[in-house]
C-alpha cells in the first residue's frame, strides 16, 4: 500500500514527521530502531518503506533508490522518526550501535562499531551505502587517526560526494603527515635552501609569501592572497628546479620543498572546507628565524554571529617558545598566553604595557591571561584537529 502523506514536514532537519491517510496496523514502537528503504525517488521526494508500509517524504540527504537508512522512532502516532538522535555526545550505548549495524545487515566488527559510533556522535544521517563505503575505506587504509576519519565523514556526507574512490587520495594526502609537522619540514627546508647560492628572486618570493618581521615595521606585509601566492611560488621553484637539474644539491632541495608545499596547499584546502584554517609563517625576530603555526576555526554563534577559535604556537621542533589561544569576535579577543619562562613582575609590566599598545592600535578589546606553561606543539595540534571529528 502506498500511503500518500499529509502534514509531512520537518520538526528539525533530521526528524521526519510522517502521517498516513490510511490505517496502519503495525506501527513501530517508540524508541525502536527502524529501517527506511528508499523504493522510489522523484525530485526532492522519496517513497520509503518502513515496517512494510510505504511513506512519501523528504529526506535531509540525497540518497539513491535502494538505499537503506536507519532511524529511531520518537513517537508512533503520529509517526515521527529521528535520523540523528541515537545518543548523547558523551554517552553512546554500545548495544544501540550493534542494533544499528545489524539493521543494516553489516557484520559487527571493531571498524563498523567505530564508524557507526563516529557517525552517531557527529549526528549524521545513517545511510547504509555510505557506512559501507566508509568502513571499506578505513579497512583499506589502516592506522587512520580520528581527525582523518572525521574529514572523510565530512566529505562523504557532503552534497558533492559520488564515489569512495574519489576519497582515496584525499585520505592519502591527509594521512601522510600532520599539518604542523609539514610546516616544520617546510621551515627547515627553507633554512637549508637559504644556505645555497640560488638567485635572489627565489629568496625574495619565499619572503613575500611566508615571512613576517616582528621587529622592523617597514618590512612588507604578507601577500594578501596567500593561496595563489603559494601556487605561484611552487611554479617558480619548479622552473628553477628544472634549470638546476644538473646541480644535484640545489635541484634536490628545490624538489623537496616543492613537494612539501604542494602537500601543504592540498591539506589547507581540505581543512578549509571544514571552516578550519591552519597556516604558518616564518618570523624574523631581529636576525633569528622562528616558526609560527596557527589556526582559526570559524564557528557560528547562536545569533548568527561568527567567532573564531584561535591557536597560535610559536617555535619549531623541540624549540617551543609559547602559545596563545583564545576566541576572537569582531570586537575583541579573549584567551591566554603561555610562555616558557616564569612570569616575573618585570615581564608582567612589559606585557601589560604592550597589550595597551595593541588595544590602541587595533581598537579591539583584549582580555589575555599571561602564564607560564609548556605544551607540546604536536600534541596541541592533534587535540585541536580531533575536534573536527565532532564537527564533521
Amino acid at each position: 500500500m502506498i500511503s500518500s502523506l499529509d502534514n509531512n514536514k520537518y520538526i528539525s532537519l533530521d526528524v521526519l514527521k510522517l502521517s498516513s491517510k490510511g490505517f496502519l496496523s503495525n506501527l513501530p514502537q517508540e524508541n525502536s530502531i527502524v529501517t527506511l528503504k528508499v523504493v522510489e525517488k522523484f525530485d526532492a521526494l522519496y517513497k520509503v518503506l518502513i515496517d512494510g508500509e510505504v511513506f512519501q517524504t523528504k529526506l535531509p540527504i540525497d540518497v539513491n533508490k535502494g538505499d537503506l537508512l536507519v532511524g529511531k522512532v520518537i513517537t508512533n502516532n503520529p509517526l515521527t522518526i529521528g535520523l540523528d538522535n541515537f545518543g548523547q555526545l558523551k554517552f553512546i550505548d554500545q548495544q544501540v550501535l550493534v542494533d544499528i549495524i545489524k539493521k543494516f545487515g553489516i557484520k559487527v566488527t571493531k571498524t563498523s562499531l567505530t564508524v557507526v559510533e563516529k557517525l552517531v556522535v557527529a549526528k549524521k544521517t545513517l545511510v547504509k551505502s555510505k557506512v559501507e563505503d566508509l568502513i571499506s575505506l578505513i579497512d583499506n587504509d589502516i592506522e587512520m587517526i580520528d581527525y582523518q576519519v572525521g574529514i572523510l565523514i565530512g566529505l562523504m556526507w557532503s552534497a558533492s560526494y559520488q564515489r569512495k574512490e574519489d576519497l582515496y587520495e584525499v585520505a592519502k594526502i591527509m594521512k601522510e603527515i600532520p599539518f604542523d609537522k609539514l610546516c616544520n619540514e617546510i621551515f627547515i627546508s627553507i633554512i637549508r635552501l637559504n644556505g645555497l647560492n640560488l638567485p635572489n628572486s627565489i629568496y625574495d618570493e619565499i619572503k613575500k609569501v611566508f615571512f613576517v618581521n616582528i621587529v622592523d615595521e617597514s618590512f612588507p606585509n604578507l601577500a594578501a592572497n596567500k593561496n595563489s601566492s603559494v601556487i605561484s611560488l611552487i611554479l617558480l621553484l619548479n622552473s628553477w628546479a628544472e634549470r638546476y637539474i644538473n646541480l644535484k644539491t640545489e635541484s634536490d632541495e628545490l624538489n623537496y620543498l616543492i613537494e612539501k608545499l604542494i602537500k601543504y596547499h592540498f591539506q589547507k584546502k581540505i581543512y578549509n572546507s571544514f571552516n578550519f584554517f591552519p597556516d604558518f609563517y616564518i618570523i624574523i625576530n631581529n636576525k633569528e628565524l622562528d616558526l609560527v603555526v596557527y589556526s582559526y576555526e570559524q564557528l557560528n554563534g547562536s545569533l548568527g554571529n561568527k567567532y573564531y577559535k584561535t591557536d597560535i604556537i610559536c617555535g619549531y621542533q623541540n624549540k617551543y617558545k609559547g602559545l596563545i589561544d583564545g576566541v576572537f569576535i569582531n570586537t575583541g579577543f579573549s584567551g591566554k598566553m603561555n610562555i616558557i619562562d616564569s612570569v616575573t613582575k618585570e615581564k608582567t609590566s612589559i606585557f601589560d604595557s604592550l597589550i595597551n599598545k595593541i588595544i590602541n592600535k587595533t581598537n579591539l578589546s583584549i582580555n589575555l591571561l599571561l602564564s607560564q606553561g609548556y605544551t607540546s606543539p604536536e600534541f596541541k595540534y592533534q587535540a585541536k584537529a580531533d575536534l573536527l571529528n565532532i564537527k564533521a
Binding site: 566529505l155 584546502k269 581540505i270 584554517f277 633569528e288 609559547g322 615581564k347 604592550l354 595593541i358
Partner: protein, 69 residues
C-alpha cells in the same frame, strides 16, 4: 585558475596524485575563499610580537644557520 591547473599537473607529475584522479575536482568544489577577518590576521601578528617581546629576546632561533635575510 590557470596556475592552479598547472599545479595539479605538477602534482600528478610528481606522483602526489594519480593521473585521471578527480581529487582535484573534489577539492575544487570545496575550495572556500579564506574569509578570515583582516582584524584577526593583523591581531595574530601583534600577539606573536607580544609573546616574543614578553619573553624578552631569550627566544632561540637558529643562530648557527647561515642565512641572508
Amino acid at each position: 585558475m590557470e596556475e592552479e591547473e598547472k599545479l595539479y599537473q605538477l602534482a600528478k607529475l610528481k606522483g602526489l596524485i594519480k593521473k585521471d584522479s578527480i581529487f582535484s575536482e573534489a577539492v575544487k568544489l570545496q575550495n572556500k575563499e579564506e574569509k578570515i577577518p583582516n582584524k584577526l590576521t593583523g591581531l595574530t601578528i601583534e600577539l606573536v610580537k607580544l609573546l616574543y617581546s614578553t619573553q624578552a629576546s631569550k627566544s632561540g632561533g637558529n643562530k648557527d644557520d647561515k642565512r641572508s635575510i
